[in-house]
Point group: C2
């Protein structure tokens, strides 16, 4: 994947640099800049404890446009009081002054350790120097600069025919731990040259996030910093796309594909993960039931460790749906590992040998058929390994 | 602990034997027998998927009395269809015939792997031989016979002065994994010679379970087999204790102490655990909020791995309460590690060094003061280590 040359949409420039926020030797600052003001929308963490940049961006996005996103990795700037908010504001101000754009058109995002103030003495000069010295960065270099425990950079770009032209969607994301359903987004930045109405953009990103990042879970821990930002600078010059038009649906479909690709990358890079697992619930009575069942199974430590161990212990799946809080008749439930029936009407289908083979695979799908209704849900998750423990027992040290 | 000679209440006899349900060489069958009919009460898993013995006991306990409990370890007899229910019934019948007591006075409990039929060809003769051949077992031997991944047997006995006599309460429990709040009981059997009214007994055990086993979590996975059974055979000859009397409160207090001791043992024996942690929430607006906050922190993989690593990363605690679903003002929250203030009004109290020392301890308390109301909650939990993964990745193999 590292070899792909991701196309940037017209009018976007990216810079990256190092301010020793992470361990020295790794880039930890990125600035994404649109040469013209862009329509901007976002989706943020539902965590009650919100990081300073999240609070700042939520306020600034009310204006519906933005031109710059300043991102640092290595420090979440969360639980950092007034000083943290001042620091986030200052990061935006430094770049806005350098680029001569309005301060409130600059957004900020941070990811890393919680509760520690940003090293502003190192960040200030690094940000001031960025546009004078640094050469332009590629999309993949930006994806690298925003990594924390990620093991590979996550970038996707896509060109779609829309109206008479071709719009480009380029996006990066980071995230490997503290990833949970219900706004499991961590950081994701999407850039497009499409000309699109603000409310259409917000609707598209909300729906696309719901179908992508909100469908993944690594460890059920929801971040204080989860942020998806999208900038649409309109340089394609197409007629402005409005909500629910044919072009809107074209764009939303492409955006959703891009975000699903990134979300799947985040799960595959789940801290310590060795396997990628799709949990599908079908035949549920309500969509909420289907989601709850799928998420409970996806977050069960016993299911995740069984997957890791290649032990096709379907009893743990039955136990997990049983305590999900959803009411159902266990005596009609079927469970499949890929296309092998493992549980038949709540009991063993006597296919443990074949089931065991599927649990040896690196990618597999567990399908739970409730046989109670028509509703379905899908969650992407990974296994739980000793390496997750190692990474998280010593993250700050 | 192994050296303690636990007193059995008058009139109770215990037998244990081996039927190769677990790996050969370990006892896996226990029968608890009261020489006279006993008042009986129980508390069972809330899991929708209930094991066969749970279904059988819930039905039989409606009569309010019992005389025998037959227990096997190594196989949960869950998700085993009609055959599983027949096997549970037959286990009770064999013992009832041998002891010449009514079949419906025999209760059954099972623990172990889900979805596999019991090896009845080995269990039948073993049960038939139990009372003719085996010498009586001690309480601790019974606790050993019901172990699965437990690393030590869990037994507690206590003598209380009640009325003119001294009542004995003796109890055993097993449980190290698949332990979750909200009926995290796994298996627990309590025996007493007290003479007590049935409704008083049921009330006492329900309240005591709520204050003990429902306050612990190892891995948030709720078992299909959780069962607490209490037999009170009345051989003390005291005036029958009725609900809410002075004697009732004396008994309930003692019962609660016994169950808390056992619950704490289960957490200390949590699969792979190296540390015992008390999560206290104070100053909450509602008891449900306090419980939810405490449980969310106790179940956070990131908090549990930080505790394991001795990394006093309080940001993960703030993130966990933030996604608990409880509404609160993060800017007034205080967090203490033992008696050290670590978070002051939502931000660092700059005591990270002292906090780090506390996180090196084997037993510690995390107190979260919401400063919003008067309600409190306490949850006992453990850390999450590589050994939990190892144990559960290969449990069935």
């Amino acid at each position: 994947m590292q070899e792909i040359n991701h196309t940037l949409p017209e009018g976007f420039i990216i810079k990256t640099t190092e301010a020793a926020i992470k361990a020295p030797g790794r880039k930890d600052l990125a600035v994404i800049y649109s040469t013209v003001p862009a329509t901007a929308a976002g989706v943020f963490t539902k965590n009650v404890v919100k990081a300073a940049p999240v609070i700042l961006d939520m306020e600034r996005l009310k204006g519906g446009s933005a031109q710059v996103i300043v991102i640092n990795s290595g420090n979440a700037n969360a639980c950092t009081d007034v000083e943290g908010l001042n620091n986030a504001t200052e990061m935006a101000r430094i770049v806005s002054e350098d680029l001569h754009i309005a301060e409130d058109k600059c957004l900020v995002a941070s990811t890393g350790v919680i509760g520690v103030q940003l090293p502003m003495t190192r960040i200030r000069p690094a940000l001031r120097d960025m546009f004078s010295n640094a050469k332009n960065a590629t999309l993949l270099e930006a994806a690298s600069a925003i990594m924390t425990t990620d093991t590979f950079p996550k970038a996707v770009s896509k060109v779609i025919d829309i109206g008479k032209g071709s719009a480009t969607i380029a996006a990066i994301a980071k995230g490997a731990g503290m990833i949970s359903p219900d706004m499991a987004t961590l950081l994701c930045f999407v850039l497009t040259d499409l000309n699109i109405d603000h409310s259409a953009l917000q609707l598209a990103v909300t729906e696309a996030v719901d179908a992508s990042f909100n469908r993944i879970t690594v460890d059920a821990d929801m971040s204080t910093n989860d942020t998806v930002l999208i900038l649409a600078n309109g340089l394609l010059g197409n007629d402005k796309v409005v909500a629910l038009s044919q072009e809107y649906h074209l764009f939303k479909k492409a955006l959703q594909e891009v975000l699903i690709e990134l979300a799947v990358m985040c799960v595959k890079d789940g801290e310590g993960a060795t396997k990628f697992v799709t949990i599908k619930v079908v035949g549920a009575n309500k969509v909420e039931d289907a989601n709850r069942l799928a998420r409970t199974v996806a977050n069960s430590l016993l299911v995740k460790t069984a997957i890791y161990g290649g032990d096709a212990n379907w009893g743990r799946i039955m136990a997990a749906i049983g305590y999900s809080g959803v009411e159902f008749n266990p005596n009609i439930v079927d469970v499949y590992f890929d296309d092998i029936l493992v549980v038949n009407n709540g009991y063993s289908a006597n296919n443990d040998l074949k089931a065991g083979e599927i649990f040896q695979k690196n990618e597999l799908t567990i399908t739970i058929d409730m046989k109670a209704g028509q509703d379905t849900a899908k969650i992407f998750t990974c296994d739980l390994t000793e390496d997750y423990i190692k990474i998280n027992a010593h993250y700050r040290s």
